[in-house]
């Protein structure tokens, strides 16, 4: 990006006077400090309490060991959505970014070369805020290294969902960093599908202004083999944040979601439906901080596991002093379809305000024999009956999706996925 020469000269003088930063300086600075942060904190190790149930090995090792697998399985949302952003082999197809009313969509790589950009107020800032009380060095490393990602700025109601779709091949090692800014009164829905790389480290920072609404849907099936994702979000007053993830593929997936409610009367929801089979390890780690009055947060996670699949849930609700009238709800449930599967959970509450109603529930067990018999007595074969009960079990998580068209699509997708296996 080149500036007109006369203006460039002026700016150059201003640089010399230290009045404005040089092109890309904000990016250099934030990346530099993130690199130092990661360095100082050190990378996660097996003995870290925060990685108690998931081994960080694949995420911290130098090289990518497995090739991406593109399965010709069932596709979701194909040709259904008007606005699509494409990633190929972990690189954003910047020349084909869609034009969407009330919303600007840009490339991180481009913005990093500018001297001023709104993203400099968010990029790496929310990630930094999310480094306490738990160290998340791999997210800091992402801030330091990522050059690919999209910057989505919703300035009003965005009527249709925007989809980010990724395709890759071989041993692509993806480091992706998205930033979303939702202005006051604006709303946007972002859908993520596909796989960025054989291994990926994805960070999404989301700033929701007062009266803003953000919805996020993610489908992890045709999926990275090893995926670590972080969402860092800061939510203003009278606003909404909802994120739902369906996971049915990959070998090891850890989705972290770190939310901070800083404005009153807001509602957030983080939900997930996970279908695990064989050599599959899935970890949902959620940390919700209530630092405002009269907010509601919900965590709803359902996992159905078989053939030795492992499901992990670490969820925490932190209610800070003064965050009165907090309504915090958290449920994590697993259905183990055979003897080999495992469910490991650490659902936490940490509460420093008294006028609150917080609860969590966690259950784990085999399929309900009564229900199974009921279905079979109606002539439904056992395998099909198990699928139906799986759908039944997942329903509560899928109901967290606000848009009924999307939830119907997810439900169909889940049904098809069950039938195909």
């Amino acid at each position: 990006m080149v500036l007109p020469s006369s203006e460039a000269a002026t700016r150059s003088a201003m640089h010399d006077d230290g009045l404005i930063s040089s092109p890309g300086a904000w990016a250099k600075e934030v990346r530099q400090s993130a690199a130092e942060r990661a360095q100082n904190q050190g990378l996660p190790e097996r003995r870290d309490e925060y990685w108690k149930y998931t081994r960080p090995d694949f995420f911290v090792q130098e090289s990518v060991t497995l090739e991406a697998q593109v399965s010709p399985k069932i596709q979701i949302f194909n040709n259904q959505l008007k606005a699509e952003i494409l990633f190929e082999n972990a690189v954003l197809a910047a020349e084909t970014l869609p034009k969407v009313a009330n919303c600007s969509i840009e490339s991180l790589d481009d913005a990093a070369d500018l001297d001023l950009h709104w993203v400099s107020d968010i990029y790496g800032k929310l990630e930094l805020a999310g480094q306490y009380p738990v160290r998340r060095s791999l997210a800091a490393l992402n801030t330091a290294k990522a050059s690919q990602g999209v910057l989505v700025h919703a300035t009003g109601q965005v009527s249709d969902p925007i989809r980010i779709h990724a395709v890759c091949a071989g041993r692509t090692d993806a480091i992706i960093h998205h930033v979303v800014k939702v202005d006051a009164g604006a709303s946007v829905t972002l859908i993520e599908t596909g796989q960025y790389g054989a291994r990926c480290n994805v960070v999404m920072e989301v700033e929701v202004a007062d009266t803003g609404h953000f919805h996020h849907i993610r489908v992890q099936d045709d999926h990275e083999i090893h995926a670590l994702t972080h969402i860092f979000a800061r939510i203003g007053a009278d606003s909404t944040f909802k994120s739902f993830t369906m996971t049915s593929g990959g070998k090891m997936t850890r989705n972290e979601c770190i939310l901070e409610l800083i404005g009153d009367n807001s509602a957030v929801s983080v939900a997930g439906a996970c279908l695990g089979d064989n050599d599959f390890h899935h970890d949902d780690t959620v940390f919700i901080t209530h630092d405002a009055v009269n907010c509601e947060s919900r965590q709803v996670f359902k996992k159905v596991l078989r053939n030795g699949a492992v499901g992990v849930f670490q969820g925490k609700i932190l209610v800070k002093a003064g965050a009165q009238k907090t309504d915090g709800y958290q449920i994590s449930q697993s259905l183990l379809l055979d003897e080999d599967s495992q469910f490991l959970a650490k659902p936490e509450l940490e509460i420093y305000a008294d006028d609150v109603a917080c609860s969590h529930g966690s259950t784990c067990g085999a399929i309900d024999e009564q229900a199974l018999f009921y279905l079979r007595s109606r002539g439904i074969p056992e395998a099909k009956a198990v699928d139906l009960l799986t759908l039944s079990f997942m329903a509560q998580a899928i109901e967290e999706i606000e848009d009924s068209k999307i939830s119907a699509a997810i439900l169909n997708h889940l049904t098809d996925t069950l039938e195909a296996r």
Partner: protein, 251 residues
């Protein structure tokens, strides 16, 4: 239609015999009723016939149209034409009633090697049958039995029966928990399915259901055995004198 010979059953988990040799022969097109005090083994009989786990058949046999049903899986028994209306229908959140019904109908057809019912045809049939049972469109959309009243659950069972068109219907205490109006509605649904070929086994504690579903034969069951069989008058005898006379008589 259904031949039960010397059926002896005990619980799998503990050494407790519940059925001590049940003999029953149900001819096609007839309505048989089994009455008996609590704990006599009536519900166990219905569960064993439909293939519920947790029971061990130690002796005897049960044949549906000559086929040994005890060796079949529950879904195979259903496809063979056996239907159990549950005393306590199970709630299945997140699975729509329609989806459930259609899956059941087509699963059975598939097991029998018949073509599946198309969505359009299915919809037409189910709406018509639901209307007869006063089941509205809303109830069809809701998850299976979730939030249904006692009466709605039992009507839903009869709707399933109507859709699946079984040859042999077992009704396990279908009248329990119903008021008179709800019971009449259920009985009408059942009676509408009586076509001279379909066979019914109505299990009940009280005679009142049999006022609405008139049986051809009444059996009295006690302590895991059929102790007496007779015509509809036997049910009236129970109504008037209770079970104690009959139990003493058999002892």
């Amino acid at each position: 239609m259904l031949e039960i010979k010397n059926l002896q059953v005990q619980l799998e988990e503990e050494d407790k015999q519940i059925l001590k040799g049940v003999d029953l022969s149900l001819e096609a097109g007839k309505v048989h009723a089994i009455m008996g005090p609590n704990g006599s083994g009536k519900s166990t009989l219905s569960y064993v016939l439909s293939g519920k786990g947790g029971y061990e058949v130690t002796a005897g046999s049960a044949h549906l149209e000559g086929n040994d049903i005890l060796s079949m899986e529950p879904e195979e028994r259903a496809a063979a034409g056996l239907f159990l209306a549950f005393q306590y229908p199970v709630e299945i959140p997140g699975v729509g009633n329609m989806t459930f019904l259609r899956t059941a109908v087509n699963s059975q057809r598939k097991l029998r090697g018949e073509p599946e019912m198309s969505a359009g045809e299915f919809l037409k049939v189910v709406r018509a049958k639901a209307k007869d049972l006063k089941i509205d469109a809303e109830m069809l959309k809701r998850p299976v039995n979730v939030g249904f009243s006692g009466g709605e659950k039992k009507r839903n069972e009869i709707l399933q029966m109507a859709m699946l068109e079984p040859k042999m219907c077992i009704l396990d205490e279908t009248d329990s928990g119903l008021d008179v109006d709800a019971m009449k509605l259920v009985a009408q649904g059942v009676n509408a399915l009586r076509d001279g070929k379909r066979t019914f086994l109505v299990i009940t504690h009280y005679q009142r259901l049999l006022d609405h579903i008139k049986p051809d034969v009444v059996h009295i069951m006690a302590a895991g055995r059929i102790i007496k069989s007779g015509g509809p008058e036997l049910a009236l005898q129970v109504e008037n004198n209770g079970y104690s006379d009959l139990l003493e008589g058999s002892a």
